[in-house]
Symmetry: C2
Subunit: 142 residues, 2 copies
């Protein structure tokens, strides 16, 4: 029987986050002591590990919910999980492409900074005039 704190330590999750996962239905309601404290077992530890690992891979909580549903029912076809992972991969690759463009732009800004007064600052100048950009970077929000 694990306390919520122990579960948190084992999975690298804050206690509040575990309670939050319970609140939104990602984690089941655990058993309680007579005094009302949560007690967990190995099954729940596994589930939380799964959730955390998927989060580290960048899956949204919604995607994780789908993956958990799949995982709970061993007869459902594998390609559903595969599709979710593929979607995630595409997102990751898109984000990388965008970051690469930004990196280029930022490097250029920083390298051209002369070290004088802000009125001559290359960084500020580039920000002022979008037309100076070498690369496209339209979408906001990584």
């Amino acid at each position: 029987m694990l306390t919520i704190g122990t579960l948190g330590k084992k999975t690298g999750t804050k206690v509040q986050t575990i309670r939050y996962y319970e609140e939104i239905g990602l984690m089941p309601q655990p058993g309680r002591t007579a005094g009302g404290q949560r007690r967990y077992d190995e099954t729940q530890l596994d589930r939380l590990s799964f959730v955390r690992h998927a989060r580290q891979l960048g899956f949204s909580l919604d995607a994780i919910r789908e993956l958990l549903d799949l995982s709970d029912d061993p007869n459902r076809p594998c390609h559903e999980a595969d599709a979710i992972a593929r979607r995630q991969l595409i997102q990751v690759e898109q984000r990388m492409a965008r970051l690469e463009a930004l990196q280029k732009e930022l490097k250029r800004m920083v390298h051209e900074c002369s070290g004088g007064k802000s009125s001559d600052c290359r960084v500020l100048e580039v920000l002022r005039d979008h037309s100076e950009c070498l690369t496209e970077h339209e979408e906001i929000g990584a």
Copy 2:
């Protein structure tokens, strides 16, 4: 004299977002018509363009506030802006490194998926057991 809608179109910003920037003090309070509608001039258009461009480059609103302060005072030293841009560059590079690791892991998951039932799914299996990961990916939140 530009309406808020025109300003939005010219900068690719939603009307609510402009009002939000005003609320948090990123944009100045514009003039108003007798009836209370906002009217903008070229200066404000430039400022909003600056903000949006910086957002596209991934700067936080706080960082943009700093950059705007610098920009407003031409005598302040350039290296402050440079430092902000450098910080941003480092963040971008860190994010890219993380995404690369995730991409690797996801590719591996997806390629090994056999197409059978979810009980044999490689994707779910990897998520279940972190020890199968080839790369490190600890932090959550891109």
